[in-house]
């Protein structure tokens, strides 16, 4: 059986991975909480951002963490445009249409990347990628600790923005009562697009944090799609705190089931959990009444 030290290391590594999952889930839950749509293009947007981070490093020599400062606003604009000019107008406000449009976007983005860059798997080599930090009896890779801290910084920033800024207030108003917000002079289509942009920016930052330790190819984001859905369903659709806790929880579950069941069956642990939560508690473990 496992010694406590290995168990501790597994849990710790799970928490580090889970933080990045949480950030991907945060983008998804933000979009769901306001627009009430499930964004099936989320994984493809993550892949696109990973390519952006990769080429920022390859062509401009930017460290992915520095590149995030440029890539996040870029993807905010991209997400804004997608919602404002494609998803919104194309879907005619019908939920089933939105499902199809975001699925179509996912197919387009993923395969455009495949067409442009081929199926090759790329990795970034950073000098500090294999530096480790000693945490108690365990060692953790430096990029993962940076990512862990960055995720909480982003979550805090997002929370402050939602709480105090005018944009945040109008987003919350639209989420709470769309018609009322519209009557009060808030432009709902704009707020929707801003929210979608913020969700996309979250994914872009997650991508920049992933690239130092994860490979980049046109299907790389897929591995995160169901994980992100799991987190969001687990934490309760639309709940930001739920996404954070759900992300950390899923990271630990994946890490532990990876140790016990092996790499490929470790994934199943997540999917089974996902299906069970969907079937028996679709409003999530931490979500309020539906």
């Amino acid at each position: 059986m496992l010694s406590p030290a290995i168990l501790f290391a597994a849990v710790l590594n799970g928490l580090m991975t889970g933080a990045v999952y949480a950030l991907v889930g945060l983008g998804l839950t933000l979009i769901y909480g306001v627009l009430h749509i499930i964004n099936f293009a989320h994984g493809a947007l993550l892949t696109a951002a990973m390519f952006a981070a990769f080429f920022a490093h390859r062509l401009l020599g930017l460290d992915p963490c520095v590149a995030a400062i440029f890539i996040a606003p870029l993807f905010f604009l991209f997400g804004y445009g997608l919602q404002r000019f494609i998803i919104g107008p194309a879907a005619h406000g019908d939920d089933r249409n939105i499902l199809l449009v975001t699925l179509g976007l996912a197919v387009i983005i993923e395969n455009a990347l495949l067409y442009a860059f081929g199926a090759d798997t790329r990795t970034i080599n950073l000098p500090y990628a294999f530096d480790v930090v000693e945490v108690g009896p365990a060692f953790v890779a430096l990029p993962r600790i940076v990512a862990f801290i960055a995720v909480f910084a982003v979550a805090l920033g997002l929370w402050l923005m939602m709480r105090w800024s005018d944009t945040g207030k109008s987003i919350r108003a639209v989420a709470r009562e769309k018609l009322g917000a519209e009557l009060a002079g808030i432009e709902v289509a704009h707020v929707y697009a801003v929210t979608f942009g913020l969700g996309t920016a979250c994914v872009a930052i997650a991508a920049c944090l992933l690239t130092p330790s994860y490979y980049v190819n046109p299907h790389a984001g897929n591995a995160f799609v169901l994980i992100a859905f799991t987190i969001v369903v687990l934490g309760g659709m639309g709940s930001v705190a739920g996404a954070l806790i759900g992300g950390l929880f899923v990271g630990v579950v994946e890490s532990l089931s990876g140790y016990y069941l092996g790499e490929s069956l470790g994934q199943i642990g997540i999917f089974v959990m996902f299906i069970l939560v969907l079937l028996f508690r679709p409003r999530g473990l931490f979500g309020g009444p539906a």
């Binding site: 499902l99 395969n111 495949l114 199926a119």
Partner: protein
């Protein structure tokens, strides 16, 4: 018999194609398009008529394909028998997933998510389980005898898949005209109202999902016999879930010939894209995605909807006249 007339005419016309051309390229294209039409017809029953959008029809396609292949290769069971068992097991998987998700009241996006998750679980299991050949996949031995469901000529395969499309389309027509079909459309239009009027919506959706899964599984069984190779990415991969919904949505969801029309258009576009780029991967799917969004945005009822609008417009003068005459009498 009259209710089947349009289906029979279309099938009879398509059945003459191998008599006109023996080009393997043409026949291969049509076999694949008809296979997608079959899989799409399965999706159409649940998604088009019932309004329950599944993103995981690969679960049924893959089950059919694997059952057919594995039964033959590992247990020496006759291919035709394996084909029938594959359809039955596919239907069972559909009933199980349906029972679990509909009893939990999953609708809309949640239903799409849970079907996607089930297909992914099956994919991961199939890619590690020894009985499916794990990562290597399962290769069916070449045995060109009709008893082994393998044929020298593509024409035989063509007629078989055409027959399957014909049978499924007629089945769809029977359902359209039945009480069950009316309940199903009622569920799509307004589930709460249907429930209030005494329709047992869970049973109706469950029935639709089971038949839908059986039809899609038949497509998977046929795939295994036609290509003689199955692996986890082919059988349970997202590509087939996407093609299964692409064909009916583009052709016209909830219409009899939508999946067939959509499959032909989609596959033709895919071939054109391949010609234009010299077979570089990705571009055909980019085009599918664009067409999907365009259809949703501009023609939500698909090609069949556009055609019926055009016919309505052609008939419009007479209709307007009749209406004005009717008003004159009133």
């Amino acid at each position: 018999m009259r209710r089947f007339a349009p289906t029979l005419v279309v099938m009879a016309l398509l059945a003459t194609v191998p008599l006109i051309t023996s080009s393997n390229v043409v026949l291969n294209f049509l076999v694949v398009a008809l296979l997608i039409a079959l899989v799409g017809q399965g999706w159409n029953l649940l998604g088009g008529y019932g309004g329950q959008y599944s993103f995981g029809h690969a679960a049924f396609f893959g089950t059919g394909a694997y059952i057919t292949a594995v039964l033959q290769v590992r247990y020496g069971i006759n291919a035709w028998l394996g084909f029938c068992i594959g359809i039955a097991v596919g239907a069972l998987v559909g009933a199980l997933i349906g029972a679990l998700s509909f009893r939990s009241g999953l609708k809309g996006s949640y239903f799409a998510l849970v079907t996607l998750a089930f297909a992914e679980v099956l994919r991961v299991v199939a890619s590690v389980a020894p009985v499916t050949g794990a990562g290597v996949g399962t290769l069916i031995k070449l045995d060109l005898r009709p008893e082994a469901f393998q044929f020298q000529s593509r024409a035989s395969f063509y007629w078989i898949v055409l027959g399957l499309v014909g049978v499924s389309t007629m089945l769809m027509r029977v359902i359209e005209c039945s009480r069950f079909g009316a309940y199903l459309v009622a569920v799509r239009e307004n589930e709460d109202a249907a429930e209030a009027l005494g329709v047992n919506t869970t049973i109706v959706k469950l029935g639709a999902m089971t038949i839908s899964a059986a039809i899609t599984a038949a497509g998977g069984c046929f795939y295994a016999q036609y290509f003689l190779f199955v692996d986890a990415g082919i059988a349970y991969g997202p590509w087939i879930s996407i093609e299964a919904l692409l064909a009916p949505i583009i052709g016209g969801a909830g219409t009899l010939f939508g999946p067939l029309l959509g499959a032909l258009v989609v596959k033709a576009l895919g071939e054109l894209a391949k010609l234009a780029t010299g077979g570089a991967p990705g571009l055909d799917l980019v085009i599918y995605g664009c067409v999907l969004i365009l259809v949703v945005a501009v023609a939500p009822r698909g090609i069949a909807g556009v055609l019926s609008d055009l016919r309505q417009r052609a008939l419009a003068p007479t209709t307007a006249l009749a209406a004005s005459l009717g008003r004159g009498h009133g």
